[in-house]
Symmetry: C2
Subunit: 549 residues, 2 copies
Amino acid sequence: MTALQDARPHVTTGPIRGSHKHHVEGPAGLRVPVRRIALSTGEHHDVYDTSGPYTDDSAAIDLHAGLPKLREPWIAGREPVGGAVTQLAHARAGVVTEEMRYIAVREGVDAELVRSEVARGRAVIPANRRHPESEPMVIGKRFLVKVNANIGNSAVTSSIEEEVDKMVWATRWGADTVMDLSTGKDIHATREWILRNSPVPIGTVPIYQALEKVDGDPAQLSWEVYRDTVVEQCEQGVDYMTVHAGVLLRYVPLTAKRVTGIVSRGGSIMAAWCLAHHRESFLYTHFVELCEILRRYDVTFSLGDGLRPGSIADANDEAQLAELRTLGELTRVAKEHDVQVMIEGPGHVPLHRIRENVELEEQWCDEAPFYTLGPLTTDIAPGYDHITSAIGAATIAEAGTAMLCYVTPKEHLGLPDRDDVKTGVITYKIAAHAADLAKEHPLAQARDDALSAARFEFRWLDQFHLSLDPDTAVAFHDQTLPAEPAKTAHFCSMCGPKFCSMRITQDVRDYAEAHGLTSVEAIEAGMAQESGRFADEGGRIHLPVTDRT
Amino acid sequence: MTALQDARPHVTTGPIRGSHKHHVEGPAGLRVPVRRIALSTGEHHDVYDTSGPYTDDSAAIDLHAGLPKLREPWIAGREPVGGAVTQLAHARAGVVTEEMRYIAVREGVDAELVRSEVARGRAVIPANRRHPESEPMVIGKRFLVKVNANIGNSAVTSSIEEEVDKMVWATRWGADTVMDLSTGKDIHATREWILRNSPVPIGTVPIYQALEKVDGDPAQLSWEVYRDTVVEQCEQGVDYMTVHAGVLLRYVPLTAKRVTGIVSRGGSIMAAWCLAHHRESFLYTHFVELCEILRRYDVTFSLGDGLRPGSIADANDEAQLAELRTLGELTRVAKEHDVQVMIEGPGHVPLHRIRENVELEEQWCDEAPFYTLGPLTTDIAPGYDHITSAIGAATIAEAGTAMLCYVTPKEHLGLPDRDDVKTGVITYKIAAHAADLAKEHPLAQARDDALSAARFEFRWLDQFHLSLDPDTAVAFHDQTLPAEPAKTAHFCSMCGPKFCSMRITQDVRDYAEAHGLTSVEAIEAGMAQESGRFADEGGRIHLPVTDRT
């Protein structure tokens, strides 16, 4: 690989506070990683783990060597089906691949469900044969909602080292896939370092690199330049690629009256090309050739929404929906070639118009997994767009969206730094989990219940360790009650010792049980009797609860 | 007032960046404040303003003197209706009060709508006659969604000065009401300083102070102690009071099997009292006397949800819903006494069970305004509960909730500091606005459109000034492009000069117009003709777009 300026690039390693890497034994010798959270009760709670070897104390990390090639033997040992090596081809042939078995363990479902969902095109497994380092994962509405984190340098900022560090950092906090959106120098080298060291699937937008090759002039783009770029990225191991093949020449005028026109970079580049040549998009006219290329590597299409709305005013408009119909047409072409497909979605959409996006996508694109950017539910909060979009993301995921592309606090203002990446990932894990709960995913609520039980029982450390971000939970608690004893105190700084509702509740429970007042019947029976009887016992619970501090 | 330790307590004054205080002339000489944002185009954009005189450069602020008594002459000049001075009594009698006229201007609606919504009990105007400093506002589903900010010291932290500063700070960023939840020393004095200096209605939970008077032992509480506390707070000018009168003795056992029992402080205190005495809650048995007290001052009931769920596992359970039915019964009693009522709601609720809360509240409580805490849509993110709850808050507000009680990042971990208060308020303004957009409130989308237009036209300063938090927007932009010229640059650090989709879009528009390609028809007509024709013109748009930097 290209040498880095920094010979010893730094990435964050070691387990997340209160947990350690554990491997669950799966069928056929599969070892599937989980993050095992040890509780003070002696029990433990396992959670889905996207962080790869970096959080494994027993793993030796060498960025120059790259991660172990977990999938290499599986890929080598697999015969093509009908000439195709894709997970889709195998699923259709009834073959349950090692990737599917691995995923079934991660998701707590039957491997046959994974196969059948992939076979019908309602789920995808982004897994380029040239990226054997990745730990298999699935994207589909029947599974846990996934989160993507965008990284990548631009012409004005960042280095290779920073981007590799961001990739590791994003997966540490739960990113299920990472997109490298680099547009500056060293695009190829940056991607190489990221791929060889990434435990999650990597996505790209090839048109960005293609445009670099023609000095940033969209009119100078050609099918040949684009095709060669796609092949180059397939060879490197990119797992899924955003292709804005639905931006057709005749749709461009539909954006003329918009408040924010075309906000997708890829979409605006292709619109410029179409108008400059007054020809149909080469991505559309050469789409079958693209399918043949991606098919050879099992690269998944992420059909881009180049005409997505960039403001509340432009939501669900004619331009957006016309493109979505075309993406449905291309979905069918891709599947005919055994190529996996997901569909990208908006953008900026008000709450009451979000569900329509999912319904139309499922209807027009045969339920191909929907992959949305937010959507942002208002335009008025730059600096807080992780929040404006988390509201939309939870809503659209509840409606059936399979993967959420995070938005960081820097959206519209600048490139995310390390802290922004973490904030974006945690915020989107919240949105994804809220949707998993709403969809009643079997694995979802156990963690909420475990954390809430710890909270009620004042097991502070368990509460922190079960949370999405233990470091921040501990830091916030310490700001008001830094003393170590407070970690076991039966109160917190919100109410202080005397007012704690949870402690009063416990006293209430103890008292009720001591007096058999544990049912409505018992209570009413008691009330029927001569009053003052309880006063004889002292007429009060043996509070003050401060006794228990 | 009690002297403060600090003779010159500090609060933040002066306009928010890019705006200034303006007064709109209303009917009958009313002067209604708005925050006027000046745009670089020479236009301006007015937004709802909760900040009071503190953001008015022409106002002299003296915390020891308190704010001007805006409503004093209105109150003095008004005759009781049927012996009642409440806004509800006047509304029912067909009287449009000055408060209603003032509110109509703020909300951009007809004053008669305000009167009729108050008359039918679907909206409340919290406005104690003893708090004439407050600027009238309305809480109801037909109006803009409102946000409450909780402040207040506890036994272990904070001072009077800090709490007054937090009140001013919260209203600066958009808090429509403030609740003083102080539980420590100086409860009376803290409240006095807050009331005399607050431009927004102030809410309290009287049981907290009553409990202080009996040394924190719930069993020692009595109707007399509570009544005297309520009178004391009514006299001071508290505008609305949380009363947990729905926590009945027979409901207590319903909480025994819960994961988190009773998490409401007031609820747990009353449950403890009921069990200790084995008697029905004095708040319930003396509710009519409470109505007679609140009626004299026009204090609004906020009927508390003492049995709200404190975890996803406990959402919408028997205990919660039994209490809600009782709150409906009490709502009718209060209205018979011409006392305004709103209903408090949960809590912790998964996304798919939120709407049911609004539907049952409207059905059982005659559409009295619903006032909810979040709800949090998952338990697993302590440190980020402003976000877990903003998702639920936007959803429940879209369904008809009238006011949202904010949750700060410190929820479950500690008391919010000044930064947490701001983060909580801005986050909840986002949730409220997202709901206003979804409800298609006439005033809502204009701000989104203005900001998005500024964004598309690279009017960076206008974009910042139109945002909910201009200071943060500017600070984030400066982190990557600090140079002043960047404020007018036609690109940002996300894509750099060559890739800006918005600029390419503008080029596309210019080109399309120059060649008459502004309709699908024109495009298709052009395509039908001999190709290469456009190549003769150079075959490209006159990019590179870097020409325009």
